[in-house]
Symmetry: C2
Subunit: 253 residues, 2 copies
DNA sequence: CGATTTCCTTCACCTTGGTTAGGCCCCGAG
DNA sequence: CTCGGGGCCTAACCAAGGTGAAGGAAATCG
């Protein structure tokens, strides 16, 4: 994967064959207006009516809702290439907030330009639609994950994040940046942070993960997938199980 | 609400002002190829690659996933006006199954016609997009709901279903058809059926619901919403809090 | 009409994970 | 260097809800 290329392009190419013109449009769109958001700062607040579309270029963020009792439920982790609010032109206001979990570089896209894209670039439009459908599939999986026991639930979540990071080229030899605290992981899986700690310990003891210094290493992805009941087909990645790459890895091992 | 009108039109009008031409297109689309599915039969199987788009015209259905241990997690309830697989042209295969919970009347729409719509009818396209975004918002709420205790979780689910049924004109004086067994409700909230029973009892004892003969009556919607922490803004209904209607209700009370 | 199946209900027991609280370590600020 | 805060880890206790079993009501079907 060409890591100098725009991360959104890298992501979309996991689904569609983009023309040079498509890529040019994306590059222009993403380069115009870029800002930074510090960790723990809201990128978009619940109830806001954003006037731009926000795209994560670097860093990690989370969609979240606050419950009446003050508990925070994270409903999605956003990584580079993910949109925060592709829907601003359709839905009036945000029904949840988005917070940076690690320092984020964010592109602010003009909503009008998106309208143009949907009218002129059909491949791109379909690719964007694919993105929102995958987001929905991930969400469905999170609902299912809520019913799993703590250990498989965490294993499944980590497999999801690994696969998504891999699809944008951010996994290097089974290691990737996971700049989340145990409490944030707890807020995503709906556990208490105490129990998240217990669960992480348990995966560690079984040799399924190594997690230190905001880096996660998964020695045996297959094994973790098995304990999590993880099957990546719901991510609808064209590049998944790419035969050439798989064989390449096997030759190395 | 004109109850003789096509249910999809009724639903979309909760969001957009449709032209007569838009409506004509929908009516034609929905009338061409209609079938029936008996309760407990799959409408679409997990992993299938449907060649039509399925739209529920009557009855209830559910999206579901099976866990490795055989447990079933319902991830959405589908009621009249809901699409099963609007995305067939984008995503290759289903990542979950859809089963009829009550006898369903289903329209089979030609996927190609949808492509035409997206190229010619912009209002309609936006309205369809709105639908998928609301589905996603509902899903997000289900993730949140998974962290609630049993009683508020059930209260929230029932409020959602009430509001959605109301938005397509299927609530009559706080009563609507809810053709679900306690086990199906349990599969949706991730409880055991035993505990779902306990929870229903509890809501009954508090006078918050009456549920017999597949009919649910919510004597005081506000009260149920309060115990469920329910706020309907995430459903993005233009017709919500319609001032005229609200006042009308208050005059009655 | 009776038979069968499905659904609802209740009970006793037990597991998972929440809660509270406290100690530790590391790092940055003063 | 010391202080303080955030994140990590552990322990003891407890409650929500799961499990399995079994009786009863109700709908379905022949």
């Amino acid at each position: 994967m060409n890591m100098t290329e725009n991360v959104l392009i890298r992501k979309l190419e996991g689904y569609a064959q983009l023309s040079d013109d498509d890529k040019r449009v994306i590059r222009e769109l993403c380069g115009e207006n870029v800002g930074k958001v510090a960790a723990h700062r809201d990128i978009i607040r619940d109830g806001a009516t954003p006037d731009h579309i926000h795209l994560i270029l670097e860093g990690w963020a989370a969609r979240y809702k606050l419950l009446p009792d003050g508990a925070r439920q994270i409903t999605a982790f956003l990584i580079p290439g993910d949109f925060c609010d592709l829907h601003v032109t359709v839905l009036a206001e945000m029904d949840h907030g988005i917070v940076a979990l690690a320092p984020c570089k964010v592109a602010y896209l003009d909503a009008k330009v998106l309208d143009e894209i949907t009218s002129k670039h059909s491949t791109l439009t379909k690719a964007l639609w694919w993105m929102t459908l995958v987001d929905e599939a991930v969400l469905r999986q999170w609902v299912v994950n809520g019913r799993r026991r703590a250990i498989p639930a965490l294993a499944h979540l980590l497999c999801e994040l690994h696969q998504r990071m891999k699809s944008i080229g951010l996994v290097d030899d089974r290691v990737f940046e996971l700049p989340l605290t145990q409490e944030e992981l707890a807020d995503a899986t709906g556990m208490s942070s105490v129990h998240m700690n217990r669960t992480i310990q348990s995966l560690r003891e079984r040799g399924l993960i190594e997690f230190r210094m905001k880096k996660l290493r998964i020695p045996d992805v297959q094994a973790l997938a098995k304990t999590g009941g993880f099957d990546d087909s719901y991510l609808h990645l064209r590049t998944t199980h790419r035969p050439s790459e798989e064989q390449h890895l096997q030759l190395e091992a």
